[in-house]
């Protein structure tokens, strides 16, 4: 009867758990009892597995699918590392990977009555699949790609597209005047560059940018300021020095004039009223001799 089987299993797991807790070493060949999760969970595991050295075909297929999508995503990511284009290029791949992982980690029961989440994700100390996905998920979070991808359809938002168009325009301008003197470039492309900056500040005020746009802006700024040397030169040295010297000079005049014109305030000293025959001078001499 199942009653007997279950009772036996309960008693067995309780004994083993208590032995583990008391610190004695359980036999080395029982990987199941090396986990330090709650006894109820171990019980589920025991009931789910028919044979603990293999996973079901369904779960194996899911794992393979995960592997392939993982590879595809990483193959897309690495070339897009510099300049950063991870959001634009790879968001489809990430969506697929995300879907597969959600499938794996869901509660649904496979055809053979097993739950793939337990066998794939939580069976060992390493938890490799979990680690790999959380790593990629962390990268996705850090790049803030959510802000560039529109939620309903799998494509970039309108703002992003507009920004990319303006960026393209700016780069075209740069390429046009790049050969000659940089001052030409600075003058002609100033308006386009300024509009791009204004657009970027607007977008920044509303929400945090995704890394693609942030990096593109950074690169453009570096090119503008450092490569083409178009930022404002310091050309007002003389007026600034003149005005500040004047302001520094004013206190000197003020102090000199008050020194020369105000009457000095003198201190009136309080004379102590002492008994004459006990004046301090005499006593000091007496006492010290």
């Amino acid at each position: 009867m199942s009653f007997n089987q279950n009772t036996l299993l309960v008693v067995l797991s309780c004994i083993c758990i208590s032995v583990c807790v008391s610190g004695e070493v359980v036999s080395a060949g029982s990987p199941v009892f090396k986990t330090h999760v709650d006894p109820l969970y171990s019980l589920n595991l025991l009931t789910a597995l028919n044979d603990y050295s293999d996973i079901s075909q369904y779960c194996k297929d899911l794992l393979d699918l995960f592997g392939n999508q993982y590879v595809a995503y990483v193959n897309c990511l690495v070339p897009a590392a510099r300049p950063v284009k991870v959001c634009q290029n790879c968001f489809v791949n990430f969506e697929n990977l995300n879907k597969t992982y959600t499938n794996i980690s869901s509660d649904e029961v496979g055809p053979a009555g097993e739950v793939c989440r337990d066998s794939l994700l939580r069976s060992d100390r390493l938890m490799l699949v979990f680690l790999l996905f959380s790593n990629l998920d962390g990268i996705w979070e850090k790049s803030n790609c959510k802000n560039c991808i529109s939620s309903d359809s799998p494509s970039l938002t309108n703002d992003t597209l507009y920004f990319l168009a303006m960026l393209n325009q700016t780069y075209n301008c740069f390429d046009q005047y790049q050969q000659g003197n940089h001052t030409e470039l600075c003058k002609n492309c100033k308006n386009t560059y300024r509009d791009l900056n204004i657009l970027y500040s607007e977008m920044e005020k509303n929400y945090t940018m995704c890394i693609d746009i942030e990096d593109a802006m950074n690169v453009t700024r570096r090119r503008w300021s450092k490569t083409f040397n178009c930022s404002f030169p310091r050309e007002e040295n003389v007026p600034i020095i003149a005005v500040s010297s004047f302001m520094l000079f004013l206190p000197i005049i003020f102090y000199l004039s008050s020194f020369l014109h105000s009457e000095q305030k003198k201190r009136k000293l309080i004379q102590p009223k002492r008994v004459p025959q006990y004046s301090s001078l005499m006593n000091i001499q007496d006492k010290l001799s």
């Binding site: 700024r221 300021s225 930022s231 003020f254 008050s258 009136k268 002492r274 008994v275 301090s280």
Partner: protein, 715 residues
Amino acid sequence: SQGLDYDNIENQLFLEEERRMSPMGFRCLEVSRWVVCGLIGFLTGLIACFIDIAVENLAGLKYEVIKRNIENFTETGGLSISLILWGGFNAAVVMLGSILVAFFEPIAGGSGIPQIKCYLNGVKIPRVVRLKTLVVKVFGVICSVVGGLAVGKEGPMIHSGAVVAAGVSQGRSTSLKRDFKMFEYFRRDTEKRDFVSAGAAAGVSAAFGAPVGGVLFSLEEGASFWNQMLTWRIFFASMISTFTLNFFLSIYHKKTGELSSPGLINFGRFESESVEYYLYEIPLFIAMGAIGGLLGALFNFLNYWITIFRIRYIHRPCLQVMEAMLVAAVTAAVSFTMIYFSNDCQPLAPENSEEYPLQLFCSDGEYNAMATAFFNTPERSVRSLFHNQPGSYNPLTLGLFTLTYFFLACWTYGLAVSAGVFIPSLLIGAAWGRLCGILLASVSPNASIWADPGKYALIGAAAQLGGIVRMTLSLTVIMVEATGNVTYGLPIMLVLMTAKIVGDYFIEGLYDIHIKLQSVPFLHWEAPATSHWLTAREVMSSPVTCLNRIEKVGTIVDTLSNTSTNHNGFPVVVESAGNDEPGKLCGLILRSQLIVLLKHKVFVELVRSRLTQRKLQLKDFRDAYPRFPPIQSIHVSQDERECMMDLTEFMNPTPYTVPQDTSLPRVFKLFRALGLRHLVVVDDENRVVGLVTRKDLARYHMGKHGLEELQLAQT
């Protein structure tokens, strides 16, 4: 300046009142003391909240406007206009603050800590705890900080707390002429001084978020009566103060209940793992303490001479206002020039807390690092110096900043504006401390040993502050509480001790210098050493103006009206048979009491003929407290001058006396410990031979060549 009458006058009126009061009455009195202390803490916290919010908003507005202006003009040229705008704005705001101080209430100028130190010491500087002083102080400090001067708002907080205490504990407002008929028992110097100690502690606690530091400050400065109950009440007031500030600021920042700003200055959290220190760094810290002492002595020396110049030549109010405006304009000019010529550009990080980053001539996406130091309120700059990542400051930037800010702060302290010196000292110290940290990291091969320059910034700040103000115990506890980390207690204590020892060798602390320049008869903790050979006979004032027990009104009026000697206490003697011998002492009466008696016409003849309505009670004396009318306003007719006045009921029948041969330290100890104002010197037949007052004792100092007697000036 006069003394405070801390000693209780146990005359017959007092004994009658005590007889009449029930035990319930005494318990009520005790409870009301606690209620008053709680109120003091609450109001001080509210005032601190107000100051903080006002400064944040107004300074934010100013920086916004100037930043936008600079950004416009960077592109199109005309930055000199920005400079003029900044200088003009500073000068205008500071002019407002300075006019308030110079024309309305000069005593509200400066930091207020010297005045409160004197008050707790027992010297009543006139008008120091009035409502007008509080109003001028609060608005003055807001104007000074918004006006961009190199000042802090923490010192004025202490003064404000003291004024709140003095006002609330009396249950009435003499300035507003409203009497709430509450707390009438507390209307005398004894109780008022205790409450002012609580107020000062509440002020420190609100300023730094350091309640225990506040208690220790009060006790360090005013410890003539160290009373457990008083300490407990002062602690209560401090805690309420910091909690109120924290609570209301968290409501204002829309994070109710987060309680993350316990004080006006917030040093930020020093996380234990990142800023632990090692044993081999202690000698380095001590060296930094010595440097702090030296720099502090230099600061005090320069400020001393500037203050003397100001006292001698710039004593008219309009000149003082002009001087303050010029300082504000020059501060702006220096800051702007330093920012303009700085080439130090740092990248803009998203987690950066810079609220007003100035790009100026840096590449896009970077900001001017000199602007973080100058274009910010000093509190925020201090925080950045403590907590920014290693590498966010260029050594050259820091060095130039330290130099210019040192001289600016030295010049600014002592102006006719209400402003403190704590934050500028911390900022100077944090800057050169961080510089030391960076240099140490660069000279050592393994840079990770000297991990965090922020730690050195903290030590440098403590060293510089200790070198300037020379406070020991309370400052250590304040810094430890403000950083929220007790592990820093030992280095900070060592640093402050070193700074004090090194600095004291050259010159006194800043507050002591200013107290001395005001010729205040300040009594130190102990009499100077090697003064045991001086006796009371040599120190006392003699001959003494005495009054007979039953004295003619005309004599009393003449004695009080004598402008050459401004006595406040008169020994009362029994009429002697022979006129040339001094009489035997039977009591002591104060000028304030005599004036009340004259006002109510308590004459012997009138009592006999029952012309007075009722007998005088202690209440009548308390009603006249604290602003007793001057003798000139009391009108006494010729007939009344012939009447007699009986002083027996009203005088203090058991004043403290000392024999003539008592040594100076013994007299000093009695005076200081009991908070006396007059000490009668008698001979072996209890005849009055002299009177010792504070001015007689405060003259004696330990100079470079032994005991010396200083001259006090008339104020």
